[in-house]
Symmetry: C2
Subunit: 456 residues, 2 copies
Amino acid sequence: MTNDQGPITITEAAEFIRKGELTPSELLEQCLGRIDRYEERVRAWVYLDREGAREQAARLTAEVKQNNYRGPLHGIPVGIKDIIDVFDMPTGCGSKLWANSYARRDATVVERLRQAGAVIMGKTVTTAYASFDPPVTRNPWNLDRTPGGSSSGSAAAVACGMCLGALASQTGGSITRPASYCGVYSLKPTYGRVSVDGVLPLAPSMDHVGVMANCVRDLAILFQTIAGPDERRGFSFEGNTFIPNALGAISSSQTDSESEREFCILGGLFDEMLSAEVRPLYSTFIEKLEGEVALLERAVPPSAFAEVLRLHRVVMAGEAACYHGARLRRHPDDYPPKIRELIEEGLNHPATVFNTALGVSHRLADQIDRALGSRVFVTAATTSLPPDASTTGDPAFNSPWSYTGQPTVSLPYDFSKDGLPVAVQLIGPSMCEDDLFAAAVWLEHRLDFTRRPLPL
Amino acid sequence: MTNDQGPITITEAAEFIRKGELTPSELLEQCLGRIDRYEERVRAWVYLDREGAREQAARLTAEVKQNNYRGPLHGIPVGIKDIIDVFDMPTGCGSKLWANSYARRDATVVERLRQAGAVIMGKTVTTAYASFDPPVTRNPWNLDRTPGGSSSGSAAAVACGMCLGALASQTGGSITRPASYCGVYSLKPTYGRVSVDGVLPLAPSMDHVGVMANCVRDLAILFQTIAGPDERRGFSFEGNTFIPNALGAISSSQTDSESEREFCILGGLFDEMLSAEVRPLYSTFIEKLEGEVALLERAVPPSAFAEVLRLHRVVMAGEAACYHGARLRRHPDDYPPKIRELIEEGLNHPATVFNTALGVSHRLADQIDRALGSRVFVTAATTSLPPDASTTGDPAFNSPWSYTGQPTVSLPYDFSKDGLPVAVQLIGPSMCEDDLFAAAVWLEHRLDFTRRPLPL
């Protein structure tokens, strides 16, 4: 997957770098060139550290020349969503008041990327406080459309090849939705699998840090690097001591091409809420999948799913109110309408309502894991094509998994007749990212999705 | 200890508040009144949140009226050194570039103070990055003199009664020295006893968070609140699972007035480096102590102490260079001369030199603990009276304990003929703050030190 200006997948770039056919400095200049070309219209970055990135790339170039190759992220330019701390860069969080707030240390996930040799280019645009208010960023496939949110800049930057991978975060649909709208690949890991140290909270019981890139294997490379227990502030629940082996799982899946994958098409709200524009595209995708998979099952979500979007909203509002409530009163002008509405909603919830909603999430999570078994659920990644830029779109197909915590991968499978990308969402059992990646890469190789040149 | 505007010790104010004779709001107004009176000349605060403090105090006043009294910090106004994070206040660190960097959450120590009912008034001036460059703050006992550093604002604010207690930090002599110069009481706890989560590092293997106040018991109240294990990023070494009982120890010490205390006057560098101005005052203090203590011993530090100041500097420079090195190159203008010199020194140390210096600190710490037994070492708190404001003074009597990690308490015992305060430093065995407080309060009651009115 190479365009005229060089590779845009980590996998391909890494191979060139490892062999000495491309230096980290050259790769960075390709990315900076794309920024020069697209950024004025797309506006994916809130803070870009050209000079610092060049210094990092120069150091990493020297390392390769000394035969000191760190691995597949060595010299790979990445973007960091602007609610995640990077040492000595501002973490703006889409806030006016906080715009010049420099971070005093790297978030754990950033530290791990840096250690693996990634080049930290800068901070990508987030909606205000990672909520729903439309940001300045535009969809690179159609500048009148939203890139989705809240990880708007990460999705747009990866779509443009301004960086080869990006950190993102999701509390509702903030990873899968923008990735889908922008035609890039995404992973939202299992809740608790990736540290949220140094990341602005929105609703801590549903906040996930995840990644975006331009193929499934790239997601696995990024995930493998950032996942795992963190002795710092963040998560430390019992199940999170396993070290994933995502690349191993992918590699087996690719070589073992005859292995049967168990996919299960999810109906219910994932059918009902599908827009008329996406429906025929998704149907064609399912037909293709039926041609590949012998035992393609269909299921409807557990009955508790009838309430899942409402319950998710209750938890998100309640927890957002805990963090932001007092500050909203003091600095109302620093809160655009949608996040303000969310917080005010949360301030008005009785504790009983909130607590019930929180409790259901745990029961539902168990139900989903049992229902999944070793299968993978399949849904459309978003309800519709990217809407106009006055909204960030509908997270209805993603919020349930933020609420229950199962890992999801999304991958583009087609373009609409207007040239807008559409994507599919795969949901796997908790803590089974490796298997989910194996299924996703199997599917990716059968989809034969070809990236188009950007219409910019 | 009441001045014309109300109590300035936590102990006394807490008693009034508990009985309903003073409200948190009234106490806060007294502190704000002192700020109105002194701040223009003293410049202790870099960020003062009058409105936020009034809201906190009003809430805490309502709680008392509802018989919901939290304990001795309920409604007590405190200041926070400006390298420690307070939610939605800037953590400026004495940096120009970082001056508007708002913190996204409270440091663990701040969260604990808030939970205990303290009113967080704002941020007190620190030297740049908690190093040696003179800050804007002046000594309230003589505006031509330094308040000491790096916790300059905390010491000056407590001395003026602008707040009744303050958080401070020490890597060399940054707590004891300013407290001594400003005539207030201080605690530097055992290394690792108090979390450094949310605190800017200078030299992590010697960074300590501690407290300042206007009597020994106040120190114990503050310490009791902030000490203990922290599951967040910070320290978590084995010994730190004990919950201190500092107030209990003090209370026993006060009632058991006949109990013998074992003090040991430390000579060596603590004698040799004492200035001519302080020497007669300190001699008079020692004579007084001899009159109270039957078995007053004298000792010289272990021979390894000959190198302690040099070794401390090597570790501090080396670790400061790790954190600041790359940033100093990128933003040289954001580093005043003394911190710059420290970092450059650290960048030039060979690893062997650094590693040796670090190793010696552990061996020396064990030696000191063995030498101490159950005794308390006594030294002058500072080498000299506060020098003029072109320097922050000499940390030579404090750095050794930052290097070896034993807890220290300092308390004022007299004034020079020019009206400048002098203080004594007590050093206790590692993790034995309770015993150290018991000794300190015993001494405090025999010193009969009377606070003078400020000459402002």
